[in-house]
Amino acid sequence: MARLKTIARRTFLVGSAAVVGGVAFGYYSLRKEPPNPLLKGLKSGQAAITPYVRVDSEGVTLITPRADKGQGAYSIQAHLIAEELDVDPHKVRIDPGPPDTAYFNSRIMDDSLPFATIDEGVMARGARGGGEVLSRLLGMQITGGSSTVPDGYHKLRVAGAVARETLKEAAARRSGVPRSQLKTSDGRVILPDGKSVSYAELAAEAAQIAPITDVALRPEKEWRYIGKNMRRIDIVAKSTGTQRYGIDVRLDGMVYATVRTNPGMGGTIKRYDASNAEKMRGVKKIVPIKDGVGVIADNTWRAFHAAEAIKIEWNDPPYPADSAGMWKVLEGSFSKDQQDSRLRNDGDVEKAFAGASKSIEAEYRTPYLAHAPLEPMNAVVLYTKQRIDIWTGTQIPVFLRAHAAKLTQLPEEKVYVHAQPIGGSFGARLDDTYALQAIELAMAMEGVPVKMTWSREENMAHDYPRPIQLSRAKGSVRDGKVESMSIDIAGQSMGASWFNRLQAPVPPGPDTTSVNGIWDQPFSIPNYRVTGYRTKEMVPVSPWRSVGASGNGFHHASFLDELIYAAGADPMSELIRLCNHEPSKAVLHTLRDISDWKGVRLDDRRARGVALTLSFGVPMAQVVEISDTAQGIKIEKVFAVCDVGRILDPINFEAQVQGGIIWALGHAMNCELTYENFAPNQTNFHVFEAMRFRQVPEIIIKGLELGKEVRGLGEPPVPPAAPALANAIFALTGKRVRELPLNKSVKFA
């Protein structure tokens, strides 16, 4: 890792011209396909035609290296390979494969570059190419950034086609019939006389052939899966309680463990007294670990119970002890020396303000938010002096492998990461602290598998939340139009915090993540300036579903709505007028039509708000309709329209949009982490509830397929929901709520 750090620092400065030079300089060698990791460890009679397809006498295994956190990644990867390979994804085996640089993600850096994801200029495309090279160099096998589909859309189909043609070649050599006269169907090669041979039977011969890489992808009209309703490969298991997650791994002789680490994340442990815990039933060992202590027992509950009985004194972490102190740090960071970026500076806002007849100022706040997936962090580890096996869900298996090697002093090839299906992540499993803790415990139990599970309380306190952000916005209007908008926004860098923790190089240059969702929005406001200020690191943080835009969408789209009201304009009409990006404009037009928009007020007890946020290349606009009830504000309906280029699976498309909206509205309504004595006050779901079944609105969705690029959809539904709701609250009550969660200011039914 250290070597890569140096390379990355010296040569590939993402976001600077060096990257463009680097691309031209060494592009071809860096573009070469990395070696196929499946060839190692291949047994006789098995063929690994590409890193994504393994065939043996038992049948076909599709390798789906992007983690499935519930977003359907395994299923869509399998369908993309199967589209060309001619197998039924429900009849073949699916395996996430080993951690390997061959599975690098070519698109993960797109959103951290100082070019809007819709920018198709030369510099932007060059930087994106550089991002791909950097990702390849670092072996960034990572799941995140709604990139599974954009990254895999082409390459997984190519992998399927290469495997198909190679299997056909094997059949051609066996039968003497030229490959061009062979067809494939449902896992078999079909000869002209109607006879057929299964892929499994061809495995041994296919393994002897150099893969046929000169392949053409099928035209759209021949697609069987893409664009049609797919059946998730895991749907039966997940509907019958038979799906196994990391937390369900059971091995012979396994013991059960948990940990308690400093609830002030980043703080260390001073001393502990485990004399009571040691005597408790089932306790096998108490083990000091980094920043805390672990308990190994014969049952998870006994481990939890004993861990609670340990008396621990902590050292304070290096940041303010409470939320008030943390906000103070942000309030004091709008200074020249803390300015980190000014990625947008159109027109001249200062001049516009000086001449403005009406200007508005506002301050917006978004809170720390936990990812809190329902499956608490866990890992099963079996350590010996010769090798280590780790069963866990992770979004970056290659990093976990490197960290495990460093911790155990074993070479990386002796570290076996067995990626597990994940019970929700939302960014939580971009970190691997939990797995490293399990390794520490397993090293104290050589030869005995250890399952480590965080209690929910441990999980809430160690979630690496989304950071707090504070913005100071100013704008002016003229002649019924928005004339200028300046947003200064301060916060700690989630990227820097996260990369440092992962011992990965922090991309130099401006921290785009902290301003995404504000600077890169598709609007032509004559004077439009966005300035980012970086505060020192406080609570260690990480990306949360939709990353920078998750909170920034609220800062931007709420303030824009304020300006539109000040101009006396209709929010929908003014957003359309200001919009300068054709797909975004089409999204707004469609939203206006499907919601039958006739203004913000429906009647004396119902009102609407609208917002558009472009994130991960996807313009997503939503109308939220609310009503005033005796119990409080009720969210009645949400209309959502977006453009993702192409909808691969209409069923999962709808599920992701519904889920993203419910996620966003729930957290906007009632979720935050507030701190006291360095630890979050929110210890469980009674005070971090999000949306309950009874609060769910009707959701009406329309997906457009306009763009040239195929985009991912796990995250884009999130950012516009909170501002659309807050804008509706203003329309209904006249109260402009500028801080999340909204239940600090209004009551929800």
């Binding site: 509907s239 309680g241 998870t300 509950w301 994940i422 999962n652």
Partner: protein, 152 residues
């Protein structure tokens, strides 16, 4: 201690204050019920005791009076319960971690309320959290399961 789970009797040597969830998961290896919160807040651990939905994280082994049914006892991949079939047909699950509990809640509810109103469904299902936000499809699946039960 004696416990009957999915029709099978078990002799157990556990302290009576151990929550049923951890008896099922760590002592018996029955993994369908999930640990989510440990405090009866999320519903991922829901099982039936004599047909009633119970949070297995919040009832101790010593308090169980009756037969325990977990999601594994409700139906199987080859022979799913009506509720499970509705969950399959509507492709409800995303991560799926909460769904065992959702289905156990729905099954107990529908067995007692075969023709539920909208507000009854809402009351019954609001105690189960889904972080992925599959509520819209849970709603459709519960209604389908109710119709399938009626047609049977």
């Amino acid at each position: 201690m004696q416990l009957t789970v999915n029709g099978k009797n078990h002799d157990l040597d556990v302290e009576p204050e151990m929550p049923l969830l951890w008896v099922l998961r760590d002592e018996l290896g029955i993994l369908g019920p999930k640990y989510g919160c440990g405090a009866g807040l999320c519903g991922a651990c829901t099982v039936h005791v004599d047909g009633s939905a119970v949070r297995s994280c919040s009832i101790t082994a010593g308090e169980v009076r009756g037969n325990v049914t977990t999601i594994e006892g409700l139906g199987t991949p080859s022979n799913p319960h009506i509720v499970q079939q509705a969950w399959i047909d509507h492709q409800v699950a995303q991560c799926g971690y909460c769904q065992s509990g959702q289905m156990m809640t729905a099954a107990a509810f529908l067995s007692k309320t075969p023709e539920p109103s909208e507000s009854q469904i809402s009351d019954a299902m609001s105690g189960n959290l889904c972080r992925c936000g599959t509520y819209t499809r849970i709603h459709s699946a519960v209604k389908t399961a109710a119709q399938m039960t009626k047609g049977k």
